[in-house]
């Protein structure tokens, strides 16, 4: 039978080293930084409104169409925020109004006429995620004739 010299001694040293290592501790610092985050999404990127015969009443100059098929979703971890809305058309042929309906957070700013100037759409949405329906109302006068307006609507989270 082969004998390993100093085996008991080696085992003893290893045991001491293991017990010493178990008693050690190491520290490090972990910093979690959360930047200001804002996110917006619309349920559909395209909306088509067409004024048809259903939106015309004989004797009235005003013709209307309403669309409430899309919704806006948002999230922000910063307080004091609002959502604004604007169009890329400075002088559209027809009147286009927009309104937030049933916001799960914040307050709807009410119906506004869209133009190239940003208007309030939702107020006090800070530190929340939420959703609301987008209600568009298109209006045309008989005197304005037939035609179309192609808008690019921009919703923006902005400081309140």
């Amino acid at each position: 039978m082969m004998r390993i010299p100093y085996l008991p001694t080696l085992l003893a040293v290893a045991a001491v080293a293991y017990s010493t290592a178990g008693a050690q501790s190491h520290n490090h610092t972990v910093r979690v930084s959360v930047a200001v985050i804002t996110a917006l999404k619309v349920s559909s990127g395209t909306v088509n409104l067409t004024i048809t015969g259903a939106g015309v009443i004989a004797g009235q100059d005003l013709m209307t169409v309403v669309d409430q098929s899309t919704s806006l979703l948002w999230g922000t971890n910063s307080s004091g925020k609002k959502v604004t809305v604007q169009s890329n058309l400075a002088s559209p042929k027809y009147t286009l109004k927009v309104e937030a309906l049933g916001p799960t957070q914040g307050t709807a700013a009410g119906q506004v006429v869209l133009s190239s100037v940003a208007r309030d759409f939702l107020l006090n949405i800070g530190r929340s995620s939420g959703t609301c329906s987008i209600r568009y109302v298109g209006e045309a006068l008989a005197s304005q004739g037939a035609g179309s307006d192609a808008h690019t609507i921009t919703f923006t989270i902005a400081n309140q």
Partner: protein
């Protein structure tokens, strides 16, 4: 030193929401939506009451109110009777609330379609329509349908 990370449940929910929506990975603070508002050529007509009673025997007058809206160019309103009544009907317009050229009085004596209002262009308006039986007929005559049409001038 022990590290302690505390994230509020609400913040967790927001962060989770961000991660679960692919479209918002870029953390956009603005979003665009394309909207097309289209207005077709539209014409509308209405008559009230729809069935004025004209006494054939005495040739008494009856009146209706004709209202219209059109966003088309160079439109007119024509009138016809179906089926053509042998007695004939005179239609007179009054109380026009719109500056359009109007034929003040037309007589429907056959199947022909006659111009009633023209110069109807991108407007809404109304007028009173008076009906008169030109020559009295016997009783039990079938009802006459007056057809108004918006058409191109």
């Amino acid at each position: 030193m022990k590290t302690r990370i505390t994230i509020m449940p609400r913040l967790c929910a927001i962060l989770l929401w961000f991660l679960t929506i692919p479209a918002v990975h870029a953390q956009q603070s603005a979003i665009h939506q394309r909207l097309l508002l289209h207005v077709a050529e539209l014409n509308a007509l209405s008559v009230s009451p729809t069935v004025p009673a004209v006494e054939m025997q005495s040739a008494r007058e009856a009146i209706s109110r004709l209202v219209w809206t059109s966003n088309g160019n160079e439109k007119k309103i024509t009138v016809a009777q179906r089926p053509p009544h042998t007695a004939g009907i005179r239609i007179t317009l009054r109380d026009m609330d719109h500056r359009i050229a109007a034929t003040q009085s037309v007589e429907l004596t056959g199947p022909a379609t006659i111009d009633l209002l023209y110069g109807l262009e991108r407007s809404a308006g109304s007028c009173v329509v008076e009906f008169t039986v030109i020559s009295p007929q016997v009783a039990d005559s079938p009802p006459v349908q007056i057809i108004y049409t918006v058409t191109n001038s």
